[in-house]
């Protein structure tokens, strides 16, 4: 039971973006995944990409309220990575004749689907953000991502007062929302 509570704590930490928890999970699982990828026609970079993708999927799962992990973190991460890597190999037209499946795996297709949907949304947001241009991008990042106050932002960006900054922010936000929702709704 101790291991289980331990893992629960780790997942909680991960959900809260706690660097110590991230590092612990990372350390405990990365080498297995790296070995798996390397043994199956992948490179070190592939291993890192895939593993971090799996970590994000785990994070998303840990964040959802209905979350119950029915298996060990190790098994979950391995299952995700295996699925992701097989998919990647297929996309690249590379072929691996011996994707070893000695490890226990669990079905993760549904989780991955959700993860991919989210990833798509993030990609849209990323693109929208990047096509805004400066200073809109930094202004919005400052307000919505870094949660800076309007006064602070006005000072940083050199607006004469917070109202001007607010005005500018509003215009930027409208543009961003437009960019985001057109893309997002096409995706839907």
């Amino acid at each position: 039971m101790k291991a289980d509570t331990n893992e629960q704590a780790l997942l909680k930490g991960l959900a809260n973006n706690d660097s110590k928890a991230i590092e612990t999970i990372y350390r405990d699982n990365f080498n297995t995944i790296q070995a798996f990828i390397l043994n199956n026609n992948g490179s070190y970079d592939d291993a890192r990409d895939i593993f971090q993708e799996a970590m994000i999927a785990l994070y998303e799962k840990a964040q959802s309220e209905s979350f119950v992990l029915t298996c060990q973190i190790k098994t979950y991460v391995y299952s995700i990575c295996r699925r992701l890597w097989l998919k990647r190999l297929q996309q690249l037209g590379r072929y691996s004749n011996q994707v070893d499946s000695l490890e226990e795996t669990i079905p993760v297709e549904e989780d991955l689907e959700n993860h991919e949907k989210r990833n798509a949304a993030f990609a849209i947001m990323d693109r929208a953000m990047n096509s805004l241009g400066e200073p809109c991008k930094s202004l919005l990042e400052g307000y919505y991502l870094k949660k800076m106050g309007m006064q602070e932002l006005a000072r940083e960006f050199g607006y004469t007062n917070a109202d001007n900054a607010k005005n500018q922010k509003y215009k930027c936000l409208m543009r961003l929302k437009k960019l985001f929702f057109t893309q997002y709704n096409i995706g839907e």
Binding site: I22, E23, I56, Y144
Partner: protein, 367 residues
């Protein structure tokens, strides 16, 4: 400006910054104006998306940092050989104290062992050296001494003798002094044959087994002395990669071969010789090795039996030493070594034509 205020209100409403009074007012506003209601819903969704996006970005950053950190610590390994370094550091972090104790104990043991090794080392080394020299002796045999065993006997030979070996040799003095390998001269005497198949009697005047060189002198009256020799003998060392060629008698006819100087020392670091890359066969022993300027840089002697095309040649410097030694033992005969090559800048074919006349087939016989 109204829109800005409205948006601000929505944001405040969504983040729960409104006072109770404001909140009730805003909620009634929402109920009564569907447009505002729609805006709130949409903005809520957007803000949620933004938050997720932000968290996602932070996580990515965190993961990247964790990766870098673990990589630095050696807990994970990327690229290069997968070493045990990571493991070692991990273990080190875990068992620092135990390791410290173990290390001190280990230190004492190490000292003790190194003491033992020091004590035993000289004798062990001596043994190894002994073995090595044995090995060299064995290997020398393996190196296929390129003396040909010859069965046929003809003319100039004294009656009742048999050929024991053959090789090549070349003139170092127009008066008839020939250099060959000591190992070619296995028997008690030798005759030499020139490139036209003519045989001459020769005496063995000096042998140096260590350098594996020997001097013959043609004593035959039929031998017509040349005015000079076309090639020179190089006194200084030759360069790695220098293109070289040789002329010798692996068969009854003279054979040309070329290659390059591949190492400054010979078999197992033997500093008396060079390593060459060329093909050579039994019978090439004693043949001159020339560079493109027509200077003799060595005397072909052995080849490595375990490798293809690895041939060794005694450095030309040793010819000078040999002749010096010979001068001390025999003051009557004066050998004058050719120092200057007249072949420099001439074409290879012409060089061969001239050198060919000075290279002899050496046949050793025993009674």
């Amino acid at each position: 400006m109204d829109d800005i205020l409205l948006l601000e209100a929505i944001e405040r409403y969504l983040s729960g910054d409104m006072s109770a009074e404001e909140r009730t007012y805003f909620e009634t506003l929402r109920k009564n104006t569907p447009e505002i209601d729609q805006m709130v819903v949409e903005h809520n969704m957007f803000l949620h998306q933004m938050d997720m996006y932000s968290a996602h970005r932070n996580l990515k950053h965190g993961l990247h940092e964790a990766h870098q950190h673990l990589l630095d610590r050696g807990d994970i390994n990327e690229g290069g050989a997968i070493s045990t370094r990571g493991k070692v550091i991990q273990l080190w972090n875990k068992y620092k104290r135990v390791t410290a104790i173990a290390a001190s104990v280990g230190g004492v043991i190490a000292l003790f062992i190194s003491g033992l090794v020091m004590y035993f080392a000289p004798s062990v080394n001596g043994n190894q050296l002994q073995q090595l020299s044995n090995d060299i002796a064995v290997i020398k045999k393996n190196q296929q001494v390129q003396g040909n065993l010859i069965n046929e006997v003809k003319s100039k030979l004294p009656e009742g003798v048999r050929f024991v070996s053959g090789g090549s040799g070349f003139l170092i003095d127009p008066k008839g002094f020939i250099i060959t390998n000591a190992h070619v001269l296995k028997g008690s005497g030798a005759i030499v044959v020139n490139n036209k198949g003519k045989e001459f009697n020769a005496d063995i005047v000096h042998i140096d087994q260590e350098k594996d060189l020997a001097i013959l002198k043609i004593t035959d009256k039929e031998f017509i002395q040349r005015k000079s020799l076309p090639y020179g003998i190089r006194k200084t060392a030759s360069d790695l990669g220098e293109e070289i060629y040789t002329l010798g008698y692996p068969r009854n006819e003279i054979v040309y071969g070329m290659g390059y100087l591949s190492a400054r020392s010979g078999f197992d670091g033997d500093s008396l010789s060079y390593q060459l890359q060329m093909s050579a066969n039994p019978g090439n022993s004693g043949a001159p090795v020339l560079n493109k300027n027509g200077e003799i840089i060595g005397v072909l002697s052995t080849r490595q039996s375990s490798a293809e095309g690895v041939v060794f040649a005694v450095k030309s410097r040793n010819i000078f030493r040999l002749v010096d030694a010979f001068r001390k033992t025999d003051t009557a005969e004066k050998i004058k070594l050719p120092s200057k090559s007249t072949l420099k800048g001439t074409q290879r074919k012409q060089q061969i034509a001239e050198v060919e006349e000075c290279v002899f087939y050496v046949k050793a016989f025993a009674k």
